[in-house]
Amino acid sequence: MTLKTESEIQAARDAADQMAVCLARELREGERVFHGVNSPLPMVAIFLAKKLHAPGSVLIEVAGSVDPRPERLPFSTNDPALCQGAAAIFSNADAYDLFARGGVDLMYLGGAQIDKAGRVNMSYIGEPSAPKVRLPGGGGGSVIMEQARRIVIWRVVHDRRTFVEKVDFVTQSGNLARVVTPLAVMEMRDEGLELGSVHPGVSVEEVAGRTGFPLDLGAEIPVTIPPTGDELSALAEIDPEGVRYSEFAALRRVER
């Protein structure tokens, strides 16, 4: 591996913090929220929101627990250590049923490819019958995305391989509200995905240039509110080990 420069590392840390607070701000007080496997940033964001503005929200998570109060946030979001302090354990089927009957307000999903229409590919790059890349699959997402009231997608890279004209395979679609990246927050509107805000220090042109579908740049695009002092100190408190950084290649804890 190549060593990262100090400034690259700091930029990645800032982007992770910005993404964590953007994701946390999506969760409203009293809501039911779910996170799946492979979801460090959403997990951190949920605990951040619960600490700040949404203490009465209810987390149901893929390791099986309902509203856990873990002593530390694990790096794997499917780690049973996450279940600590939970008053109930769920089977995954029980959680998916809750989605199916409309009982979950917010779900954070990943996405390898996302297009203007808000469709998500987690399955194949290239022709599905002879794929160039076999991706992991949508997990819960391919039905959940139609069932949760609101979907927020996060993705730690913002490039033309992610934001494409048309996804190679629609693993899932529906109920998309926002997409949070290291550069911007995109909003789902009638016309499709558009820029909602760009993060501090990022230019609208840079985002447009790294997005593979056209964006409406006519109106004034606001700047994302940076992490507040309260948000940053709460982040440091709930995630001292930096689980939120683990998705960024520049900040990876375990090298391969």
Partner: protein
């Protein structure tokens, strides 16, 4: 009438070409040692059923044991990324994929557990998955609404790693059960690997906590550490170094054999018929 057998014997129950569901979820309470044993015994053409799988599927793909995977998600979490042997098998056309959501795997298992040819599942309208996997719709006779029906998934064997079992096959799971209770109902046969073997009284004292009753179980293997390098709550965490080592070695058949040999002693140390408490 003890159902306790060795890991080799249990692995031998699985035949080439059978449909196998390994329990647990991702790197949690995975029957990893059982998967290694299938690889050691050279099993071929297996059809693997899983909601979210990682090491155990990837390992069997590396060993050339897998003909088809029906799953919602196969990959390590972000620490380790995608499952390389699974990827290679699918991309080369050696391994067929029936693309699923985790919930449609559950629906197919429910069809089997409920004695039905198929089970409706909500959602899926805005997904290419059903068309790609040949899932058909039926019309709800009351509302006229079309609903996707998932065909019955009836594994020949469910293999579930549990914290506590007795010789009769009663099993208790600590922490999240994932889909393991459903798997025990949906499958033709059930094999348990267990951290500890206890007296039946352990279950009689708290029968509400028994996840799988003994009469559904065919075989029990005493296998402390049988989930490693995956975690087994609350006994041990994921062994990240071991996962990384496996991933580093997964590219060559020799390295895979080294990996299987490396784990052979711990997989087979099973202190037979040692009853706890």
């Amino acid at each position: 009438m003890s159902k306790l057998i060795s890991l080799s014997e249990a692995g031998g129950l699985v035949r080439d070409g059978q449909m196998i569901a390994l329990g647990g979820n991702s790197l949690s309470r995975t029957p990893s040692a059982f998967a290694r044993e299938l690889a050691r015994q050279g099993r071929r053409n297996l059809i693997m059923i899983k909601t979210a799988g990682a090491y155990e599927i990837d390992l069997l793909c590396a060993a050339g044991a897998v003909a088809e995977v029906r799953a919602g998600y196969i990959g390590y979490e972000n620490l380790f990324g995608m499952a390389p042997s699974y990827r290679r098998g699918v991309e080369s056309g050696e391994i067929r994929v029936v693309e699923h959501a985790c919930y449609s795997v559950i629906a197919g298992l429910r069809a089997s557990a409920y004695g039905l040819p198929s089970q409706p599942v909500s959602g899926f309208d805005g997904s290419d998955t059903p068309a790609s996997s040949g899932f058909l719709q039926a019309e709800d006779p009351y509302t006229g609404k079309s609903v996707y029906m998932i065909p019955k998934i009836r594994p020949d064997w469910a293999v579930v790693h549990v914290q506590h079992a007795d010789a009769a096959g009663n099993a208790r799971i600590d922490g999240g059960p994932f889909e393991d209770v459903l798997l025990s109902r949906a499958s033709e046969g059930v094999i348990l690997t267990a951290e500890r073997i206890v007296e039946t009284k352990f279950f009689e004292d708290k029968p509400e906590r028994t996840n799988i009753p003994g009469f559904m179980v065919d075989a029990v293997v005493h296998l402390p550490g049988g989930a490693a390098p995956a975690s087994c709550y609350p006994l041990y965490d994921t062994d990240e170094e071991a996962v990384a080592a496996f991933l580093g070695a997964a590219d060559s058949p020799e390295s895979l054999q080294d990996h299987l040999r490396e784990w052979e002693v711990s997989d087979h140390r099973a202190p037979e018929a040692e009853i706890s408490e």
